[in-house]
Amino acid sequence: MTKGIESLARWGRKGCDASESLGRAGIFLAQSAVAVPSREGLRLWLHQVYFVGVLSLAIVLVSGLFIGMVLALQGYTILVDFGAEQALGQMVALSLLRELAPVVAALLFAGRAGSALTAEIGLMKATEQLTSMEMIGVDPLRRIVAPRLWAGFVSLPILTVGFSVVGIWGGYLVGVEWLGVFEGSYWSNMQASVSFLDDVGNGIIKSLVFALVVTWIAVFQGYDLVPTSEGISRATTRTVVYSSLAVLGLDFVLTVVMFGGLS
């Protein structure tokens, strides 16, 4: 009997801890997202766009190319059985724009940029740089966290667009140049079936949501970690695990809302 109560209490405590942590993360987001634009802020932001966005370009574009190529190859072998290989362009473009580009780019971004953000902020915390900044009278939420948060929010959607473009080109290389699908039908089927608002627009909305969630998790994990070497390693792992799960889970929800009604 007491054992049952004890385990119930343990679950309750876990629930309390989880909701407290979520609350802290919410307050943290509210305090750091409200950044007053200034020239200095712009400089810090651009600096972070370079680190978070530009340096992630290579891995995102190369992955996009390969995924586009694989899609075309797999799609062709199925479509050709039905004599529908003309629809290859449509298939590649829709899979990339609606699903693969936002999701895979976000997962890569979490691994490449998110973990780096967590480790960087965590190490600043462990070496008391954040505390000393506070004591100098500079709010680290404004100075350190806000530029990184906004840089991630802006960078990922742009990376996602790049992922789609390169992926569609990769599909073209395999489908048209290698497997011999007629070039005109590859592009015209794509043009006829892709809607700018429904497909491109919704893909970008997805990537905006993922960008916010991944960057938020990354900077919060860095800011909130236990300032020891073990704490930093745990928080970095948590960033990748939590953001991957959040991206995949949210993707399902968003897909239901966006495309659930499409026939």
Partner: protein
């Protein structure tokens, strides 16, 4: 110099991780003097500095700096107040992505609109006063511990604060840099009429520069007075600390069961290792 208190701590209580760190601390830290807060390791001296700097919030009691209650200020007002304070961290806590010059220039750049040549002059003046003008292009990773602390000191006084908090300034220093730091703290305090709070357990160095000393132990102020009066204090705990005796009222051993029975006790009976 006047004896008007610049920092007042009233009946401060603070619990951390289920442990009562402070149980009613009272202090009055006068303007323009060096006040030392001493005590054995683990008595929460650094915690006290964090409470004064507003980074931690006490369970009850107040900390007044120049009449303002630190823990009742808005976030904005607190950051405004912190511009009038400097803090020297144990590790130096220099910004690792900036070189020595930029570290010292940081407070000036964020809090003033001074033109670049003036910032340069000010930074060089501050670096000159800690003897590191020649090290301005080095990165924090290239500095020794003592040099890092001196750069941090230059940064802490960059905005000419009224109050400066030193967290264990002498820990882990060789005798030469220890002497340099002692001299620097004394000189800066006199030249700038700084109110200084030095948290330390290095008795000789601290007593040589302090005007007034508070000794804390077990969450309370156990003694206070001028360095001279502490030297001949009647309380055995104070005398043990000031004269650095290994055993006395503050025991050498961490609380443990009786040694004899602990050794003879069958380890398996108590469930293995403990």
């Amino acid at each position: 110099m006047t004896d008007v208190p610049f920092v007042e701590i009233e009946d401060l209580h603070f619990t951390f991780g289920g442990r009562e760190v402070f149980r009613g601390i009272n202090m009055a830290i006068p303007y323009g003097r060096i006040t030392a807060i001493m005590g054995p390791s683990g008595t929460g001296k650094t915690t006290l500095l964090k409470l004064i700097g507003g980074q931690l919030t006490p369970d009850s009691g107040r900390v007044l700096i120049d009449g303002q209650d630190v823990h009742r200020l808005s976030r904005k007002a607190l950051f405004e107040l912190r511009k009038r304070m400097g803090m020297l961290f144990q590790s130096g806590a220099l910004f690792s992505d900036l070189d020595v010059f930029e570290n010292v220039a940081f407070p000036l750049r964020v809090h003033t609109d001074l033109p670049e040549p003036m910032i340069r002059d000010l930074v060089l003046l501050k670096l000159q006063s800690v003897g590191l003008r020649g090290a301005r292009t080095l990165t924090p990773a290239e500095l020794s511990g003592g040099m890092a602390r001196r750069v941090a000191l230059a940064r802490a006084v960059a905005l000419d604060p009224e109050l400066i908090l030193y967290d264990e300034p002498f820990v882990g220093q060789d005798p030469i840099s220890m002497g340099v730091l002692v001299e620097l703290i004394r000189r800066l305090s006199q030249a700038l009429e700084l109110t200084s709070i030095v948290v330390s357990h290095d008795i000789k160095e601290t007593l040589s520069i302090a005007d007034y000393v508070y000794l804390i132990s077990d969450g309370k102020v156990v003694a206070e007075g001028t360095p001279k009066s502490l030297d001949t204090h009647a309380d055995p705990r104070v005398s043990q600390f000031v004269h650095g005796e290994p055993d006395g009222p503050v025991p050498f051993h961490y609380p443990a069961p009786d040694f004899y029975s602990d050794i003879l006790d069958d380890a398996t009976a108590s469930g293995g290792h403990p």
